[in-house]
């Protein structure tokens, strides 16, 4: 099951070496790719590296892209997710310095004072999502934050739409419980 690709003409122009199309594609897609990397890795430098690598692969893929293969954006998300998974796997297997547990990753973006409270609330959400099992976390990031359709998100995760719905429902239920227990936010 595939969805029509609104980027078909743009990808074709990119494949033909149209620099304007490349800039248009970067403007449209880089924020999405970087956002996924930031939320998965929670490390700004690493997320930027992943974004750069994902686009390098996109440049190679564009001339070979065949309309009807699905959405290029879905392919780009699959590449980004896999690059992030590789980095997370390497981090998990890397020995901690001095045999101690690694500290929590630093806040990727230093914030101005006026934004500290909003940032703290956002970080609380980030921490809650980080407690989810990997597949539930990925499903929520793709559907809620990346605003992907159920079909596209299921393709990126290589699962059925029914399995995606199950991951989403379990993840959201766990988050509601998490917030209710941690902060009593529903009683505020």
């Amino acid at each position: 099951m595939t969805e029509p690709d609104p980027d078909t003409a743009l990808i074709e122009r990119m494949g033909q070496g149209d620099e304007g199309a490349v800039r248009q594609f970067v403007t449209a897609r880089l924020p999405r790719v970087l956002a996924l990397g930031l939320r998965l890795l929670r490390d700004h430098a690493e997320a930027e590296d992943v974004a750069q690598e994902a686009f390098t692969r996109a440049w190679r893929q564009a001339p070979r892209w065949q309309p009807g293969q699905g959405r290029f954006d879905t392919w780009l998300h699959t590449v980004t997710l896999n690059l992030c998974r590789d980095r997370l796997r390497r981090k998990r297997h890397a020995p901690a310095p001095g045999g101690e547990d690694l500290p929590d990753p630093p806040d990727p973006q230093p914030r101005a004072d006026a934004m500290l409270e909003a940032s703290a609330r956002g970080q609380a959400v980030a921490q809650a999502i980080a407690t989810l099992p990997e597949r539930q976390r990925e499903a929520i990031l793709l559907v809620h934050y990346q605003d992907m359709s159920n079909i596209a998100a299921a393709q990126v995760l290589d699962i059925s739409v029914e399995a995606l719905e199950s991951l989403l429902a379990r993840g959201r239920r766990a988050l509601k419980q998490h917030f209710a227990q941690k902060e009593g936010w529903r009683d505020e």
Binding site: F55, H144, F179
Partner: protein, 137 residues
Amino acid sequence: MSEALTLARFAELAQAYGGEIARWPAEVQDAARRMADQPEARALLAEEADLDARLDLWTVAAPSPQLRQAVAASWQAPLGKRVRLWWSALGLGAALAGAGAGLAFASLSGVALPSGSLTPSSSFEATAFGDFSPGEG
């Protein structure tokens, strides 16, 4: 053909995709909007909308101008590769021309060469530019 939307299915969809029907699968959105008038359905949407609003508090930085520039500039990399290949091809052509000139000089000057010693398909290509033998490209 779509099945009639039940309240139970409405609840499943809300719990999976959240309180905003526009995020739900396209094929159920019309039916879901009609059902959203019912009090039970409205309550389900409101509960999920609370979680959506909570999730939306986690924002991330937009790409810096430097990153945008670096990513756009990386598009040149494949062209760079093509330029390098072009130079390699030029080098191969020059080397072949040199070899041909050497053979011509040898035949004009009466130097005897062993048979097959400079055939283009043998060690010449493999030594200078890697193995270009047919069937491996």
